[in-house]
Symmetry: C2
Subunit: 334 residues, 2 copies
């Protein structure tokens, strides 16, 4: 996609629903020049409010659909803003299951004006089923007790810390926001079900023995809608190291109030057990804790408690970075 970006926040009213936009702003702030909402939207990322024409005048090249909904479709209420952005000279990029190009009005307007539509969730290559064969190189996968709990942030913070120490490390995106941030990857939840683990094997090919792929996890083994994606990603990634992501104050799964967040230790045990099918030495190496809704003191107490419970380093990737988890990793793989 051509930057800079105008971030479209739609009509959502919860920050969690705008996690694509928030993630791009967190990790690539230099590319984001403005935000725009549809009627009814209340989420504010703190960027200047801009209409498309104004954004284009400030240099914006692409409007990114920065929100996600269950099912990944494009509701009619987003259409006027998308069409106005095209008219104002912007390309559009999205990571929905429904492709921009499959919405007739969007396709026709883009075609008439010569604009480009980017559908990053659509795989551009074909996959085969996973082989289960071990590949050279080291792999870390972030997993979690729920969706939207910090798996991508943990992976990006770990890549940053590893690279700062001169370690060979590559973030591997498995979702739309990660692809927007890193410019490559595969949205594993949009792959044909038979090829989930095969896509994960493709994403993280054989590499130097001391090279780390730091793979963004998806979903949770305890999620009634998405656990299949989670398990296939675990098996195909063949992780040596697992970092478990958790938000202590969350009681129920986001959007699934009838499902409690699983206990952290249950999630560690189930994930390590699943990972050992394709990599018998898989082990947990750290906890990534999301403390965004906790005070400094509550966060410190939670970290002390979780470290004592699990025997693993526990950090918030935004508040603390993941240096201490990477130090723990270096002790194991010298």
């Amino acid at each position: 996609m051509l930057s800079p970006y105008l971030l479209f926040l739609g009509d959502v009213t919860e920050l969690a629903a705008a996690k694509t936009a928030a993630g791009i702003l967190q990790w690539r702030p230099e590319l984001c020049i403005g935000q725009i909402r549809a009627p009814g939207g209340t989420v504010d990322l703190g960027l200047p409010e801009m209409r498309p024409a104004e954004a284009a005048k400030h240099g914006a090249r692409t409007m990114i659909i920065g929100i996600a909904n269950a099912g990944g479709f494009i509701p009619d209420s987003w259409l006027p803003t998308i069409l106005v952005a095209l008219e104002a000279g912007l390309d559009i990029a999205a990571g929905m299951h429904t492709r921009l190009v499959d919405v007739p009005q969007i396709r026709e307007t883009a075609s008439r004006l010569g604009r480009t539509l980017h559908d990053v969730r659509q795989p551009t290559q074909s996959f085969v089923p996973g082989s289960g064969r071990k590949r050279s190189g080291l792999r870390l996968l972030t997993v979690g007790t729920d969706c939207a709990v910090g798996k991508k942030y943990a992976a990006l913070a770990i890549e940053k810390s590893m690279r700062a120490r001169g370690m060979k490390a590559d973030f591997r995106a498995t979702g739309q926001t990660g692809i927007f941030i890193s410019g490559r990857g595969v949205a594993v939840d949009a792959v044909v079900a038979d090829f989930i683990s095969g896509a994960a094997e493709w994403l993280s090919p054989a590499n130097d023995p001391d090279h780390w792929d730091v793979i963004e996890g998806q979903g949770s083994l305890f999620h009634p809608a998405y656990a299949g994606v989670t398990l296939g990603l675990i098996h195909g990634s063949q992780p040596d190291a697992l970092v478990i992501c958790h938000e202590p104050v969350r009681k129920a799964l986001v959007g699934f109030d009838h499902y409690p967040v699983p206990a952290l230790q249950d999630c560690i045990d189930a994930t390590v057990s699943a990972a050992r099918l394709t990599n018998p030495v898989a082990r947990a190496v750290g906890i990534s804790i999301n403390t965004s809704r906790m005070s400094e003191q509550a966060a410190s107490e939670a970290i002390a408690r979780l470290e004592q419970q699990t025997g693993l380093p526990c950090r918030d990737p935004i508040r603390h970075g993941m240096d201490d988890v990477v130090s723990y990793i270096r002790k194991i793989w010298r």
Copy 2:
């Protein structure tokens, strides 16, 4: 699809690779009038050998691609037979990931001759992610220690036994062969990964409190390529009852020699545990054993041993039928 059928066995040399054809013949023999192989093929189902023109003369209406390969593509070596069948007046039906209609020579020949191409693995409806909400009615899901171990046969035999007793029961197909046999269903391995459990919820909607959906399982939780499909299907099916399918003489997963078949009890424990996420009362109610490569005596000994180990009725759906498992079920759900 219009019957009767000519079954295409391709160039495969192992019966397991022709399981689609074998399954149709097992459960719908009255629809199958002949078989045809491509050069190099050695599998024999015992049907009369017929070339397409001969089969058409005997009344055949459709040639079914009765074989499966990893990846679900259509190799060039099948093309001549498919084109000759179209010329001879037959429609073609297949359940591959690659659609017949996407192979230019097949599409153009069918179009020129006015023949119909059936791609039963392609979902014809759109799905949404699973909701995890409990539905009325009872559900049984077959699961297994590997692929191609009897999950479809067990489900069909259970439906047959339940209906013979006057119970309300419907077989729910989740793979191509099951769809060919029952005329409906959804190939869950061809669904977009995000919608596996949603497709399973769609397949088995709310029903009478005493109605059983008998759902065909897929893959295995211990399979390095397909476990994601298995887990999503378990969660979306919300089974009350699980029947675990197993072949005692199999040492390694089919096509994955480096992966041993898991212990039966490990498979029971892992599956029941996974199922309880969306249905806390899920329980194992029987073992379906594949004794096709065992003597009568070896089969009897294996059954006695497995029944003692698990405390559950154990039967071969072909050799014994599943009446004893259904009797066990009736004791639990009176």
